[in-house]
C-alpha cells in the first residue's frame, strides 16, 4: 500500500510537470509563430486596442451595423447565452421589441441571442437588411454600403464580421 502511494505521488508529479509545464510551454512557444492570433486577434487603431476581431461589441448608433442580440450585453469577461427555452415568452417579447424597432421581415439571427453573447458575425441577409438604415444615417447610397458588405462576406457561410464591416465603413468615408 505504501509503495502504491509513493508511486502515485511520483506519477502525479511527473505528469503534472510534463502536461502542465512542458506541454503548455511548447504550445505557448508555437504561439509566437502566430503572435497576433495567439494574443486574441486584437485590432488596434492609433495604437489602442479597439476590440477583438473575434468578439462582438455593442454597436448602438444608426451609422453602424448592429450585432446579434447578446444575453450578457456583450460582456467579453463573462460571456453566455440566454439559455431560454425556444418556446419561452422572453424570447418572443424580445423578438417583438426588435421587430417594433426595425420593421418586419427580419432575418432570424437578428432576433435570436447567440450562444456566447459575443457572436462577431451577422448573416448576410441581416447585413443587407440593415444596409438601408446605415446608408440613410451616413447619407450615402445603399449600393455603396452593399459593396462594402460584399467585400467582407464569407461566401461559403454567408456571414459578415460586424466589427470589420463597421471599421471598413469608417475607412471608406
Amino acid at each position: 500500500m505504501k509503495s502504491d502511494i509513493i508511486q502515485g505521488v511520483k506519477a502525479a508529479f511527473i505528469t503534472m510537470a510534463v502536461c502542465c509545464v512542458l506541454y503548455t510551454g511548447a504550445v505557448y512557444a508555437v504561439g509566437f509563430l502566430a503572435k497576433e492570433k495567439a494574443e486574441g486577434s486584437l485590432i488596434y487603431k492609433d495604437g489602442r486596442v479597439v476590440g477583438s476581431r473575434l468578439i462582438a461589441q455593442n454597436f448602438k448608433g444608426e451609422r453602424y451595423f448592429h450585432p446579434r442580440p447578446s444575453a450578457v450585453d456583450y460582456n467579453a469577461a463573462g460571456a453566455g447565452g440566454s439559455n431560454l427555452s425556444p418556446y419561452s415568452k422572453e424570447i418572443r417579447e424580445r423578438a417583438e421589441k426588435i421587430i417594433a424597432e426595425n420593421g418586419s421581415g427580419l432575418p432570424a439571427d437578428m432576433v435570436t441571442a447567440s450562444g456566447s453573447g459575443l457572436d462577431p458575425h451577422i448573416s448576410l441577409d441581416s447585413a443587407v437588411f440593415q444596409a438601408e438604415r446605415v446608408a440613410k444615417a451616413r447619407n450615402t447610397d445603399k449600393n455603396r454600403i452593399i459593396a462594402v458588405i460584399d467585400e467582407h462576406t464569407d461566401s461559403y457561410l454567408k456571414i459578415v464580421n460586424v466589427l470589420e464591416l463597421n471599421m471598413a465603413l469608417d475607412r471608406v468615408e
Binding site: 502566430a34 495567439a38 455593442n58 418572443r92 458575425h121
Partner: protein
Amino acid sequence: MVFVTLIIGISAVLSWFLGRYMTYIMDSSEQGTWQSYLKQFAVFNVIMFAVSFAVLAFQQYLPLNPDGKGALTADLIFNTAASFTTNTNLQHYSGEVSMSYFSQLFALMWLQFVSAATGIAVLTAIARGLGGKGFGNFYKDMMRATFYILLPVSFVVAVLLIFTGVPMTFGGTVEAHTIEGALQNIARGPAAAFIAIKQLGSNGGGFFGPNSAHPFENPNFWSNAVETMSIIIIPMSCVWMFGRLTGKMRHAAVIFGVMLLLLVMKLSFAAYFESAPAGALAGLDVQTSSNLEGKELRFGTSAAPLWAVVTTSTSNGSVNNMHDSLNPLTGLVPLTGMWLNETFGGVGVGMINMLIYILTGVFICGMMVGRTPEYLGRKVETQEMKLVLLALLVHPLCILGGTALFTIMPWGAETVHNTGAHGFTEILYEFTSSSANNGSGFEGLGDNTPAWNIATGIVMLVSRYVPIVLPLMAAGSLAAKRISPDTSGTLHTDTVLFGAVILGSIIFIGALLFMPVAVLGPVSEYMAGALK
C-alpha cells in the same frame, strides 16, 4: 449534411489508424491481477482529487493570476475537483470569471490529461484480461496513455487551433476602447493548450464560460471542424484498441458499427428537429430559418446539432451552442446520448459502458441459443450479472433519484431558469450530465449553490467509479474462467445478428428506464408547444 458526413467519416477512418497506434503503445505483457490494478487506480484517483482540491482552495495565493481571481467557496471547490477528477468537467463556475491561470492549468488541465488516461488505462486492463493476458500495472498504463497518446495528439491539435485563432497568452484581460467610445474588457488566456486536451480527452470543461461557443475557444468554421473531430476520435479508436487487445477485431467492428449506427440515428433526429425555427417566433414576421437561439453563425447550420450529438454521445460535454435553447425534441437527443452513454462514450470508459450493455444483452439473448450465455467464450454467470446490473443501476439511480429529489425540494425547483416542462428538463439534464460524466448543461440553471454543488459532486463520483470498478471486477471474474471453443452452437459475437442484439439491448434498456422522464420533459414541452 456533407459537413456532417465528412466529419464523422474522416474521424472513423483516422480512428482505425489511431486505434492501431494506441494498441502498439498500450499493449504490454506486464503481469498483474485486477485487484492490484484496482488498488493502484484507487490510490491515484484519490491523489488526483486531493491535489486539485488543494490547488483550487489556495488559488488566491498561487502564481499565474494576472487578474487577481479570489477564493472559491468550499462546495464549489468540491464540485469542481470531483468534476475534473471524474473526467466530467461539469462547470458550476465561469472560467474567465473565477479561475486563475494556475488553477486552469495545474488543477484542471492536469486532470484533463490524467483522468482521460485513467479511462484508457482501465479499458486496456479489461481488454488484456479478457484477452487472456495479465491485467498489468495501472501506473505504467496511465503514463503511457498520457505521454504517448494524449500528449502528442493534443500538441498537434493545439497548434492547429492557434492557427485558426485560439489565443495562447498569459497576458490577462485586455481593455478595449470601442469605436463608439465604450469600454469592453476582453478576457483571454492560454486557451489553445487547454482546449486541445479538453476535446481529445472527452473532458469538455471550457476555458471560458460559454465553452466552445465562445469565439476565443472556437474562432471559425475550421477550428470547429478540428474540435468536433477531436471529440470523437479517441473514443472511436478505443473500440479498435479493444478489438486488437482481445484479438477479436471482427467483434470490435460489430461494436463500432452499432455505435456508429446509433450516432447516425441521433444525428439525423437532431438535425431534423433543429431545422425548425424556435417555437417562440411562431407567427411573428421573421424570415424562416433553423433555430438560431443560442447558436453562433460562424460554424454553419448543421454544426450545432452535430456537436450537440457528438459531445453527449462521448461524455465530452463541451458545447458550441446552448443546449438549453435547443428545440425540445432536439434537446431529447443529447439527453438520450447521455442516458445510453456508450455511442463511443468517453475515452476508455465508453467501451467499458458498452461492455455492461453487451453482457446484459448476451445474458438474456444468449440463453435463446440453448446454452449458458457466454461472452468471448467465457460463461456469464451470477457473479458477473450481479456486478453488471449494479453498474447498470447506478445511472438511473443517480439521474432519477436526483431529479425526483430536486423537483420537489426548493433548492432544486427554485433554481430553474424556465418554467414547467422546460424547467424540469433543466434539472433532469443537470443530473443526467453529471451521472454520464458528461459535463454539458442546460446552462440556464442557477447551479452554483451548495445543494447543487454537493449533489452533483456526489453523483459524479459515484457514477464514475462504480461503472469502472464493477466491470473491471467482472472482467477479472470472466478472465478466470476457461474459454470454450467457438462452434456453430455458440453465439457468435462477430455477426450482424449480434450487432442487432446489442443495439436492441441498448435501445430497450435506455427506453425502459428513461421513457417516463423523456415524456414529461422534452416530449411534453414539444406537445404543449405544438398545441399553441
